[in-house]
Every structure is written in structure tokens, then in C-alpha cells.
């Protein structure tokens, strides 16, 4: 699912790449930029954390004119007075004018590297509102943001994640192989998809999925169950063969009311109550009328 998210099939999305000090998410961000460039999209980068040279390193050279880097790395707070972009310019109007500098009708992807820097200097609630407005505004096709989640309070991170359509949380992989990405993706209809994948990033910034883990919790439960087989070594027979089972099922249980039994009791046949008696020679039959003393 990581590849689908990176391909960015749906418009109006907000993809959040969440990393921590253990694993840097910038490589994934760069491969995101690369795939967007390959899709013939215009990419605007608000760069606070790395210089333009460092970001461009490894990116597709042929489409460099579609990549616009807004340098806020050299002077993020505007102290020298001639900074191309400052953190205080993170408003809808300023971003709108930035995007209009390049008069192209093509789809625009806005990359924010990183949101952590902006969150330091703005009210988190205001950031959320601006991100939502960017998402809904229709000016940009997609917003991709990098967030260092260990630098902020849990509530701030939670609020930003709540807004995002896709959240990719990256962490170092076990045994030093690749990295683990937990992906949570919301579709427009409100459906939620989650996945966990182990990936690695190649030299040319393409992402390779190594393996998938869809249900991390289910595996240990089963192994525990299969270890113990209590019926393995028994001195008596617990199992039934098919013929035995058939014979067992034929047996009517004492307190079970079957249909036949019920109908037999409720609707007795007409001639069923007759007593057939054939007199026998040995019968001790009293000839006398037992009631002859009565005056009937």
C-alpha cells in the first residue's frame, strides 16, 4: 500500500510522513518528490531543514525545471531582510502567490520540509486550519508534509494526523534490514485501510517493498495454540469414526421430542385402542354374573 500512497492516485490529499530520531523520513520524502516529478507534476518545496543542493541530490535531473525550491533554509526567520521565504510567510495568501509565480495549468504538489519547523513558530490550531484550507482550496493537488513526531506534544501530532488522508509512520526495521512503514489511509468514502510494510529505498530513490505484515498481532496467538495437543497421548479413545458417529446420531436421546413422537402422542390413530381377546380353554372364566345381587 506504500507504493499506492506514494503514487498519489487521489487528488486533494494530505500525505503526512511521520518520523523520529531513530529513522529519518527525508529519503521517503525525496522519493515522493521524485515520483511526483515523474508524473509530470509541478512540485513546490518549502525547505526549512536542508539546503537546495542537498535536496536536489539524487533527484531526477531532467525534470529539474518543474521543481521549485523556496529557500527558507538560509534565513528562516527573515533576520537579514532579504530572505526568499520565511516561516512567517506560511499563510494562505503568501503560499498562493508563491504557487502563482509559475503560471502552469498542471497539477501542483506542495511539499513541506518540515512541518515541525513551522509548528515551532505558529499556533498548532492555526496550522491545522491552514492545512485544511490548502487541502480543500483546490490550488494544490496534494500536500506532502514531513513531521518529526518526537519533537512535539502528543496532542499536536494527533491533531495533524487527524487531518491527514494518509499517514506514513516510519521506523527502523528489525535486524537493520530496511525500514518499517505503518500506513493508515482514509478514502473519500470514509473507509479506513491500514497496513504495515518493510521497505527499502534504492539509489535512484525508488521504493522497494520487501515484505508485508497485515496483522501483526495474529501470529503469536496461533503458535501458542498449536504447541499443546491434549488429546495426543491418551489411554482411552476420544475420537469417533464415521460409522460410530452415524450410529450415535441414530440413537434417540431420552428427552428429545422428535416430530414423530409428538404427532404420535397428539393424534392417536382411530383403531389403535382395540383390545383383541381370544378365549382360551385354560381361562378361568367366571360364569356367574358378579352383579346379580344388585337390583339393576
Amino acid at each position: 500500500m506504500l507504493l499506492e500512497v506514494l503514487q498519489g492516485t487521489e487528488a486533494g490529499g494530505f500525505i503526512l510522513i511521520q518520523d523520529s530520531v531513530n529513522y529519518c523520513g527525508r529519503h521517503l520524502l525525496k522519493s515522493c518528490i521524485n515520483t511526483a516529478l515523474k508524473r509530470e507534476e509541478v512540485v513546490h518545496v518549502l525547505g526549512f531543514e536542508v539546503s537546495q543542493e542537498e535536496l536536489n541530490d539524487g533527484l531526477d535531473r531532467t525534470s529539474a525545471q518543474r521543481l521549485h525550491f523556496h529557500n527558507a533554509y538560509s534565513d528562516p526567520l527573515g533576520w537579514t531582510g532579504n530572505s526568499p521565504f520565511t516561516v512567517h510567510q506560511f499563510t494562505l495568501e503568501d503560499i498562493g502567490t508563491l504557487l502563482k509565480q509559475t503560471p502552469q495549468a498542471k497539477a501542483v504538489t506542495l511539499v513541506i520540509d518540515s512541518l515541525s519547523w513551522i509548528l515551532r513558530h505558529h499556533d498548532p490550531a492555526a496550522i491545522c486550519q491552514k492545512l485544511q484550507a490548502l487541502k480543500k482550496g483546490g490550488v494544490v493537488r496534494a500536500v506532502i508534509g514531513l513531521l518529526h513526531s518526537d519533537l512535539h506534544q502528543r496532542g499536536t501530532v494527533g491533531s495533524i494526523c487527524h487531518l491527514a488522508t494518509s499517514v506514513i509512520t516510519v521506523a527502523p526495521g528489525t535486524r537493520g534490514l530496511g525500514a518499517v512503514a505503518k500506513i493508515t489511509r482514509r478514502t473519500k468514502s470514509g473507509k479506513l485501510m491500514q497496513d504495515e510494510e518493510i521497505f527499502s529505498i534504492n539509489e535512484d530513490l525508488t521504493v522497494t517493498i520487501q515484505s508485508k505484515r497485515s496483522h501483526p498481532g495474529s501470529t503469536p496467538m496461533n503458535t501458542d495454540e498449536s504447541e499443546v495437543d491434549p488429546t495426543a497421548h491418551l489411554t482411552f479413545n476420544l475420537r469417533l469414526s464415521d460409522t460410530q458417529r452415524e450410529a450415535k446420531e441414530k440413537l434417540p436421546l431420552p428427552f428429545v421430542f422428535s416430530k414423530e413422537k409428538k404427532s404420535a402422542l397428539l393424534h392417536p390413530g382411530t383403531g389403535s385402542g382395540r383390545i383383541l381377546y381370544e378365549p382360551d380353554a385354560n381361562d378361568d372364566y367366571d360364569q356367574e354374573d358378579p352383579d346379580d345381587d344388585l337390583d339393576v
Binding site: P124, A125, S159, H162, L163, Q194, V228, L253, V256
Partner: protein, 412 residues
């Protein structure tokens, strides 16, 4: 000539029984005439349905008019949003007026996603019966029961009252646009209202209080204009206003409740709720508010918010938690917790008989059921091992008693 005579005759006819006996029928005809409402069995309050029949049952019949239902959102806001849509859809079907406020999506978008009602009134109970009938022979085939136990009532997991109130909805389809447009709806989309308000206040003053107060003012204006408050003389037939407020308290409302432990405007939402409740009490309206409680850092504040609402329920989805793969919960989509029930005109409220409630979203409907273990029909899994499963699920420690695993099953 005939008309005045008729009007003269009516009051005398009304008065006549009063002269013969002091008994007067307690008439509620004025209130009952509103479609989609009925008096509560417990306290006689006028109630409306939430749109989910089993939720109505859980909260004591329905939502009393003039009260506020708080829904604590699940982690990804999928089921709480669905409950809100059910509530609004029920309003559309009953002909109530709607008021939708949101900061995330445009109210019109929310209204377009309303689930389609299953309006065929005879068909829907029949299908339920059919299901029950089709279940019965199966279970008789599967299990032989001694005859004296055959007629014991089945344990009812689905919660429903005996009489029908509210409608059923098909989640897979959206409501017809014709039905949707027939309903009168007032929307409040925060970005549309706040641009005028917040742009002048760029002078480092947080826009927080304005968002809530503009919502409250807008709501008050609608209630007054449309004549939902009691002060307006009764000129036309009364109606109910259903108010749905989506994701209140989230960062999009300009509230830093979710971001900080000690929010700078900690009283903003509670103040708003006070105002909202006062407004609801004096008008023919009922409100549902969803709050992303998992994001709110300050538990005391969340407690305050809960106390300021009349009914409070919390949804906890299994999505993304370890419970998703737990066999105990495999039939359900999440847990529902009733946090608070209102005490209306009486000292007691009717508590639900079972507090372990779970919800599931079937293709056609959202149901709340009593959480219980399913009957175990397979012969390989013994009852004991399921008990152990619950034990490990609750405690989370599977390491205990590992030495005796071998003979654990042979303890007889």
C-alpha cells in the same frame, strides 16, 4: 352563519364533560402532532429517535427534545460520523428541519452522504423475522435440545424496544437527492463564516472565542427566525430542529484543546456548551455533538464537557488496535460505552441492564448489541481455551502458567 355556529359549538362540547365529571383527559395532542416524536415511557418527555433503533433503546427510548447528546468520536471518526448522519437522516425522513455545522467538510457534503432509508415499513420487520426463521431450523439441526428447554426464550443480543420508533437505513446507498432537498436545512461551514471574522483579528489575538460565538449566534438566529423557540406565538404547525455539530473542539475550530495539556482557552468549549444547552432547553430542538475525545489531552476538561451534555456515549473502534485480531471481538466493529444518561424530571434514570455493549456495522444497518461470547459449536475448541483467551486478552500476559501448559487441559 354556519361557521360561527360551529366555532361556538366546539367549546361548549369541550366543556360539557367537565361539568359532569372532574376527570380530564391529559391531552398531549399539541406535542404528539409533530411527526417523528412521541412521549417517553419513563418520564413523559417528548422524544425523537436518533436514527439507530438500538441506540434509542440504550439511552432510554430516544433523545428528549431540548437535550444534547455527546458522542465521543472513535479514533478515525468513521463510526461517530455515521451516527451523526443517521441522526440527520432520521430528521429528513420525519420532516424535521436540520442544522449542520462543521469545520472539516461542507455541510452540503455531509448531507449528500446521508444513508438511504428503507421506507417499506412492512418489509423491514419481515426480513428480520425471516432471518430469525431461517436461523431456527439451522440451530435445531445443529444442536439437539431436551424438549423441556426448547421453548425457553432465546437470549436477545440485539437491543430493540417492542414498539417501532425510528427508521432503518441502508448504509450502502445514499439518500435520494429529491428527499434530501425536500428537507429544510441550515448549514454552518466555519471557513465561510470565519474569514470575515478572523482576518481583522490577525493582531496576535487568537481567533478562538469568535468561532464558537459566531456558531452560537448563527444558531440562535436560525432558531428565532424559524420559530423554534417558545416565545413566538403559535402561528403555524410546530416542528423539531435537529442540530448536528461535527467534531467540535478539534483544531479546525481554532481550539487548542487538542494540542495542549493546558489550553489557552480552556473554558471556550464549556462556555459554548452552556449557551447551547440553555438555547436547547427553551426551544423545540435537539442536538448531537461529536467531540474527538481521544485527542483532548486534559481529562478533567473532557469530564467537564461530558457533564455539560445530557447524554454522553463513547465509541471505541477496533480499527488499528490489537483487539481487531482478538477472536473475542471478531463479530463486532467496536465497543460502545454509555458515559452518562440524563435525569429528566425525576431522580433516577433508567440504567441499561448490561454495560458491556458492542456495535457492528452490517451492510444494511448499524446495531448495538450486548457483548457476549458466541456459542461454541465446534468440537475441537474447548470452552476452557476460550476462557483462557479472554484471560490473555484482558491481562495481556500469556507467560503465566507456561510450565503447566501440558496438563492444563487434562485437569479432570
Amino acid at each position: 352563519m354556519a361557521a360561527p355556529k360551529m366555532s361556538m359549538g366546539k367549546p361548549t362540547a369541550d366543556r360539557l364533560p367537565c361539568n359532569t365529571t372532574s376527570f380530564q383527559k391529559k391531552s398531549r395532542s399539541k406535542l404528539v402532532s409533530i411527526p417523528g416524536t412521541r412521549p417517553s415511557i419513563q418520564n413523559g418527555q417528548l422524544i425523537v429517535s436518533t436514527g439507530v433503533t438500538s441506540l434509542d433503546y440504550v439511552i432510554g427510548g430516544g433523545l428528549a427534545v431540548g437535550t444534547l447528546l455527546l458522542i465521543e468520536e472513535d479514533r478515525y471518526d468513521s463510526y461517530s460520523r455515521m451516527l451523526l448522519k443517521y441522526f440527520l437522516a432520521e430528521g429528513v425522513v420525519c420532516g424535521h428541519e436540520l442544522y449542520v455545522a462543521s469545520a472539516l467538510d461542507h455541510p452540503n457534503d455531509i448531507l449528500q452522504e446521508l444513508p438511504a432509508p428503507i421506507l417499506d415499513d412492512i418489509a423491514s420487520p419481515k426480513t428480520v423475522e425471516d432471518q430469525a426463521k431461517s436461523c431456527d431450523p439451522e440451530s435445531q439441526d445443529a444442536m439437539k435440545i431436551a424438549w423441556r428447554y426448547q421453548h425457553l426464550p432465546k437470549v436477545q443480543t440485539a437491543l430493540a424496544s417492542s414498539s417501532r420508533f425510528g427508521h432503518y437505513y441502508d448504509v450502502s446507498k445514499t439518500m435520494d437527492t429529491e428527499i434530501c432537498q425536500a428537507a429544510r436545512c441550515h448549514g454552518f461551514y466555519l471557513p465561510e463564516h470565519s474569514t470575515a471574522v478572523t482576518s481583522p483579528t490577525a493582531t496576535r489575538q487568537s481567533p478562538m472565542p469568535e468561532t464558537y460565538s459566531s456558531l452560537l449566534n448563527n444558531l440562535q438566529e436560525v432558531i428565532h427566525r424559524e420559530g423554534f423557540d417558545g416565545s413566538v406565538p403559535q402561528t403555524k404547525s410546530r416542528n423539531i430542529l435537529r442540530i448536528g455539530l461535527h467534531s467540535l473542539g478539534s483544531a479546525l475550530w481554532g481550539d487548542d484543546l487538542c494540542c495542549r495539556e493546558n489550553p489557552s482557552h480552556g473554558h471556550a468549549l464549556t462556555t459554548f456548551l452552556y449557551g447551547l444547552r440553555a438555547m436547547l432547553r427553551s426551544s423545540l430542538s435537539v442536538a448531537v455533538v461529536t467531540v474527538p475525545s481521544h485527542l483532548i489531552q486534559n481529562r478533567a476538561l473532557m469530564g467537564n464537557i461530558t457533564r455539560l451534555c445530557d447524554t454522553a456515549i463513547a465509541l471505541e473502534s477496533f480499527r488499528g488496535s490489537e483487539r481487531e485480531t482478538n477472536p473475542l471481538y471478531k463479530d463486532y466493529h467496536g465497543l460502545l460505552d454509555v458515559r452518562q444518561l440524563p435525569y429528566l424530571n425525576c431522580l433516577v434514570c433508567d440504567l441499561p441492564d448490561n454495560k458491556d455493549l458492542a456495535f457492528k456495522l452490517k451492510r444494511k444497518q448499524f446495531t448495538i448489541e450486548r457483548l457476549h461470547l458466541p456459542p461454541d459449536l465446534s468440537e475441537t475448541v474447548s470452552r476452557v481455551s476460550r476462557g483462557e483467551l479472554t484471560g490473555t486478552a484482558m491481562v495481556g500476559s500469556s507467560g503465566c502458567g507456561s510450565g503447566s501448559t501440558g496438563n492444563r487441559h487434562l485437569d479432570f
